[in-house]
Structures are given as structure tokens and as C-alpha cells.
């Protein structure tokens, strides 16, 4: 499982990059969901998001899930291409699979990479 050390993580398996303001879903999340077949981004550029606001809806062959904002701020960019290529979330969740970027993002209740890794290990059967 890939957990980049420069990112922050939520309990609901989203990541936040404090330096770029980008956020998305973690490698663990995409693995649990399996093949992702549909993504709909629920926020637009210029919108203010609060921590916990639903920013995207994701569907895989197994389940559907809401993705929540891991930080608050004004949306500066939205990865519009994602809905045409939902499989990007499986192949590159931390790179091409970013969902939105916020300016001046203030992270909510987040963990660092080591804490998140431990958190994921605790959930494995």
C-alpha cells in the first residue's frame, strides 16, 4: 500500500496535500473499492468548501461512496477530466487522480503518513 509521507490523511480515507492544496482518495480506498467505474465531482471552481463537505461521488463495481473534503478553503481547480477516466483513481490516486485543489486550505482532523498506515493496518483482516 502506497502512503506518501508528504500528505495528510483522514479517517474516511481521503488525502490532502498541504503544499499544493490538492485532495483525493487514498491508495487504500481505491483498493477497497476495486475497479472504479464512475466519478462525479460535486463542487465547482470558486466555491468555498468546509471540512467534511461531499466533494465527489464515486462508484465501483462493488460499492458507491461519497468523498469528503479533507480541508477547508476556496476551490481553485477541479480535475474535470476525471469523470471521463474514472480508472485514473485506481491507477494513480495521488497523482492524476487528484480531485480538487483549494487555496489556503486548512486541514481538518487529519493524520500523518505513519499514523494513517497504522490506522489502515488496524482495519485489515
Amino acid at each position: 500500500m502506497n502512503v506518501p509521507s508528504n500528505l495528510k490523511y483522514t479517517k474516511s480515507d481521503e488525502w490532502f496535500d498541504p503544499s499544493s492544496g490538492a485532495m483525493g482518495i487514498t491508495d487504500y480506498a481505491q483498493g477497497q473499492l476495486s475497479d472504479i467505474v464512475f466519478v462525479e465531482l460535486l463542487v465547482e471552481e470558486g466555491e468555498d468548501v468546509t471540512v467534511g463537505k461531499a466533494i465527489a461521488s464515486v462508484e465501483s463495481v462493488k460499492a458507491s461512496a461519497e468523498i469528503y473534503a479533507s480541508a477547508a478553503g476556496k476551490v481553485s481547480a477541479v480535475n474535470k477530466g476525471l469523470s471521463d477516466k474514472p480508472e485514473t483513481l485506481n491507477s494513480d490516486p495521488y497523482g492524476e487522480g487528484w480531485m480538487i485543489k483549494v487555496a489556503g486550505g486548512v486541514a481538518g482532523d487529519v493524520m500523518d503518513a505513519a499514523e494513517y498506515e497504522k490506522y489502515c493496518a488496524g482495519r485489515a483482516h
Binding site: D35, V37, F38, E59, V61, A63, P86, H125
Partner: protein, 494 residues
């Protein structure tokens, strides 16, 4: 992989082929009143009658139903539906009536509906009952509308939160969402019950109510049910029960007695109305005393009491603060109500109780036989269903592979990947209608498959092998949606 290809009806078409030869017209020709209503450019298939019959006969043989074999689809209660239901719902008095007939001419139908309302009230312990909703989720919507109407009637407008456990049916949050309520998810504790601490923390004066599936989707009866209901009531919320799993409780526990305020039934699960294949559902809703006035209109009631030899006059009544009509006419009468009435009448109180006892016994027998071979994460006495994990340590076999492999053993797979709180979930509900031999064959197959998962995993990855079509590409099907035979631009070019 044995792939038996049957072309689509459009591919079988050959220009000029027809089903019947019409004789020359012997009446004067007249133009159609509105030619725009007819489209001569529709690409309709052209075939002889015999080709059409053979095509659909072939397709029908690809099907698998509860009349073919065991169908342990968790939370769907795919019980065998007695064929006497098919006789009763085709009795001419039921079949050849219309809901707009004067009530004096359809007293038999109204008696049936009235008695069914009363019986469902008796079974569930509720004070009022509507038979209108078309199916389960429609019943949920009806129930949540009544909850909203109740709070509105008390000018209690700040209630916007619906509490829903993570072991609930997926329709529950959808129904709450339809009314614009926000959903607060309540986690389950280690025993599969509602986490009381989390519930207490969520209970405040903004709570509309709680929607609880009990037994829940883990097949667990909530051990703290009275405490759960008390917490919700204490903060002014109403308690919604999802009755989809009622097959575990008949004649044993009445949700109304436990303190539920509203609950929908799934007559097409518990009361042997056929379902699957889009058949008619039926979702009556029962309510406690304080919601009776909000029931949909009309209900069937007694308009004039009878005396001596004269029977009462049955007709329609309107609750005082009704939320209105939820469906054209009175529900799925022949499809749902007559069949459910037949089933209840045929079983009686003792028979209904036996249904639930055997449903629970069968599920526990299967669970006991699979324990040790499959991980059962919430392992205690279950109700009518249980959830196992479809995965093994050190193996890349998944629940989907096991489900597909079961088809090679001539069983319908159980529900998989639900509930979401269990990894690689296999949700198994045998129902009361299966005998021990069938349960043993099914358990034997699952145990054999667990061995295959170790010795020949490719057998599972490539399954099913004996069906007309092998493994479907679910990812491709979901990503590349093609929902019609012709693309719109092809159609325009024709």
C-alpha cells in the same frame, strides 16, 4: 467456457419475414387521424412467429429462479411462493374488477383489503395500516413523509437529521434523502448492534428519527433494541423500522410493541408475493397511534356496521391529517394483496410463527456448517440470515469468485459485497422453504469451493464454467454504457 450464443431478436430479423399474412382489406380505406403518431422508420425486427417463440423459449431457459433451485440471496427473502396464490389472484371476482367500480359492487375485494390491514396490524402490533405503497422503498418514502408531517403538525421545524446505522438497508438513506433530510450514519458495535454511545451523541432536538433495519443486514437482532428506541424517543425523534427482514420475527416479536412508530412490510418478501424479474412488489406501512391520522388516503374502512344477517358496508375512509394519495388506486391488489392474504390465511398464527422459526433455524444451521471454513465476523446466533467473508488468508480469491463458482454447482449466489461493513461479504439467507438436504448440498458446495480456492484458484477466477455465458466483464459493462441496439445517429441516418 461453454458460451452458447443466441443472437438478439434484431439480429435474427430478415427483411420481409412476417408472422401473419393479412387478407386483403374488405372495408373502405381511411386515413389515420394523426400520421405523426406513427413512425414508419422504426427498425422493428421482422420474423415468423415460430422464430419469435423459439428465441424467447431459448432465453427463458437461461434463467434461474426459485422454482429452479436454491436462491439464498441475503435480505431478499427469496422463498418459494406457493402456487395456490396463483389460483386465488385469478379468481374471476378479483380478476375482473376495476378500482373505479362503485363500492357496493366490489365488497369482496374491500373485505379482503380490510382484513389484510387488520391482520398486518395484528402481526406487527401497529395501530394503523395502509396498503397503498407499490413496494419497499415506496413504503419507506411513505413512512418518512408521515414522520415529516408529524413534526410539521407540531411546528417542530428544526428537525432535519435522520439517524441511520451502517448495517441498514441502502434504501433507508435514499428515502431520507428524498425528503431532503441529512443522513447521520451510526456505527455498529463489535457485536453487530447499534453503537449506543454514538447514538446517544447524535440524539438531539434536530433529529427527525431513526431508520433501523432489525434484524439488521448482518442478520443480527439488536440486543439493545429497547434502549435504542428509548434514546430516539427521548430526543423527540420517531422510530422507523425497515420491515424487509420481518421473516425472522413473525409471531415472535411485534415491532409495534417494541416502540417502533412506523414500519413498511415487503409482502413480496415475507408474504410470498413473487419478486425478482421486476414482478409486482407491495409495501404496506404500519404506524403507531400518534401517526394514524397522517396515513395516506384512502384506507379501507367500515362505513356502516352490519346487523344480524346484513354484513357491514366496506368503503374508503380518509385519515384526518392525511399525507394524501401515494399511488393511483389502492396498491397492487391482485399482484400483492390477494397473494399475501392467501398466504396468511393458509398459515394462520401457528403457521406464521413456524415460518420464522424455520427461517432462523435454517440460517443458523448453515452458519454452523460453514463456521471454521469461512470467517464469520459477527459470530453469534443469527436470525434469518448471516454474513460470511468470501476471502481466505494468503489467497487472491474474492467473494465474487466464490459467488460465480457457486453457479457451477447449480446454486444461485448469495448477495455479495453487502453489507459494506464486512470485507468481501457473502450474505446468505436460506429461508424456511428449504429442506435439510438442500442446505447440506449448499454447505458442501461452499466447503468444496473453499478447498478449490487453495488448490485450483483459477477454477474460481474463471467461473462460472457451465452457464451459457462465462464471467461477465462488470467493469467494462459499467464503464462503457451502451443501452440501445442503435446509436441515435445511426437511427437518424436510417
Amino acid at each position: 467456457m461453454a458460451t452458447i450464443l443466441e443472437p438478439t431478436i434484431f439480429e435474427l430479423s430478415s427483411p420481409g419475414r412476417i408472422g401473419v399474412t393479412m387478407p386483403a382489406s374488405d372495408v373502405p380505406h381511411s386515413d389515420l387521424p394523426n400520421k405523426n403518431l406513427l413512425r414508419s422508420d422504426l427498425p422493428l425486427p421482422e420474423l415468423a412467429e415460430v422464430d419469435v417463440v423459439r428465441h424467447y423459449m431459448k432465453l427463458s431457459k437461461f434463467n434461474y429462479s426459485v422454482d429452479d433451485g436454491f436462491y439464498p440471496l441475503g435480505s431478499c427473502t427469496m422463498k418459494y411462493n406457493p402456487k395456490i396464490n396463483e389460483d386465488t389472484c385469478r379468481l374471476p371476482g378479483f380478476l375482473y374488477t376495476h378500482p373505479l367500480q362503485p363500492i357496493e359492487t366490489v365488497q369482496g375485494n374491500l373485505v379482503l383489503m380490510y382484513e389484510l390491514q387488520e391482520w398486518l396490524k395484528e402481526i406487527s402490533g401497529f395501530a394503523g395500516m395502509t396498503l397503498q405503497p407499490a413496494a419497499g422503498a415506496h413504503g419507506e418514502f411513505t413512512g418518512v413523509l408521515m414522520m415529516a408531517a408529524y413534526h410539521k403538525s407540531r411546528n417542530d421545524s428544526k428537525r432535519t437529521k435522520m439517524l441511520i446505522p451502517d448495517a441498514a438497508h441502502g434504501t433507508n438513506p435514499a428515502s431520507a434523502g428524498m425528503l431532503g433530510f441529512s443522513v447521520v450514519t451510526i456505527p455498529s458495535d463489535a457485536r453487530g448492534n447499534v453503537d449506543l454511545k454514538a447514538l446517544a451523541a447524535a440524539c438531539d432536538d434536530t433529529v427527525v428519527g431513526m431508520m433501523l433495519t432489525n434484524p439488521n443486514t448482518l442478520g443480527m437482532f439488536d440486543e439493545n433494541i429497547e434502549k435504542v428506541i428509548e434514546l430516539v424517543h427521548k430526543c423527540g425523534g420517531l422510530m422507523y423500522g425497515d420491515g424487509a427482514n420481518l421473516n425472522a420475527l413473525l409471531g415472535i416479536v411485534r415491532p409495534g410493541d417494541l416502540g417502533f412508530d412506523v414500519m413498511h412490510f415487503n409482502l413480496h418478501k415475507t408474504f410470498s408475493v413473487p419478486h425478482g424479474g421486476g414482478g409486482p412488489g407491495s409495501g404496506p406501512v404500519g404506524v403507531s397511534e400518534r401517526l394514524v391520522d397522517f396515513l395516506p388516503s384512502p384506507l379501507v374502512g367500515i362505513l356502516e356496521d352490519g346487523e344480524d344477517e346484513i354484513p357491514p358496508l366496506y368503503g374508503f375512509v380518509t385519515p384526518k391529517q392525511t399525507i394524501g394519495r401515494m399511488k393511483a388506486f389502492h396498491g397492487h391488489f391482485g399482484g400483492g394483496l390477494v397473494r399475501a392474504y392467501t398466504y396468511i390465511a393458509m398459515h394462520g398464527l401457528d403457521g406464521l410463527k413456524a415460518i420464522s422459526q424455520f427461517a432462523v433455524l435454517n440460517a443458523n444451521y448453515l452458519q454452523a456448517r460453514l463456521r471454521g471454513t469461512y470467517t464469520i465476523p459477527y459470530d453469534r446466533i443469527c436470525m434469518h440470515e448471516f454474513v460470511a467473508e468470501g476471502q481466505f488468508a494468503g489467497s487472491d480469491v474474492r467473494a465474487l469468485d466464490i459467488a460465480k463458482r457457486l453457479m457451477d454447482y447449480n446454486f444461485h449466489p448469495p448477495t455479495n459485497y453487502f453489507p459494506l461493513i464486512v470485507h468481501e461479504a457473502l450474505m446468505i439467507e436460506p429461508t424456511e422453504t428449504e429442506n435439510k438436504d438442500t442446505l447440506d448440498r449448499f454447505a458442501d458446495a461452499l466447503i468444496k469451493i473453499a478447498e478449490e480456492a487453495k488448490s485450483q484458484p483459477e477454477l474460481l477466477h474463471d467461473a462460472p464454467h457451465i452457464t451459457p455465458f462465462g464471467r461477465m466483464d462488470e467493469v467494462k459493462a459499467a464503464r462503457e454504457l451502451v443501452l440501445c441496439c442503435w446509436l441515435p445517429e445511426d437511427y437518424q441516418n436510417q
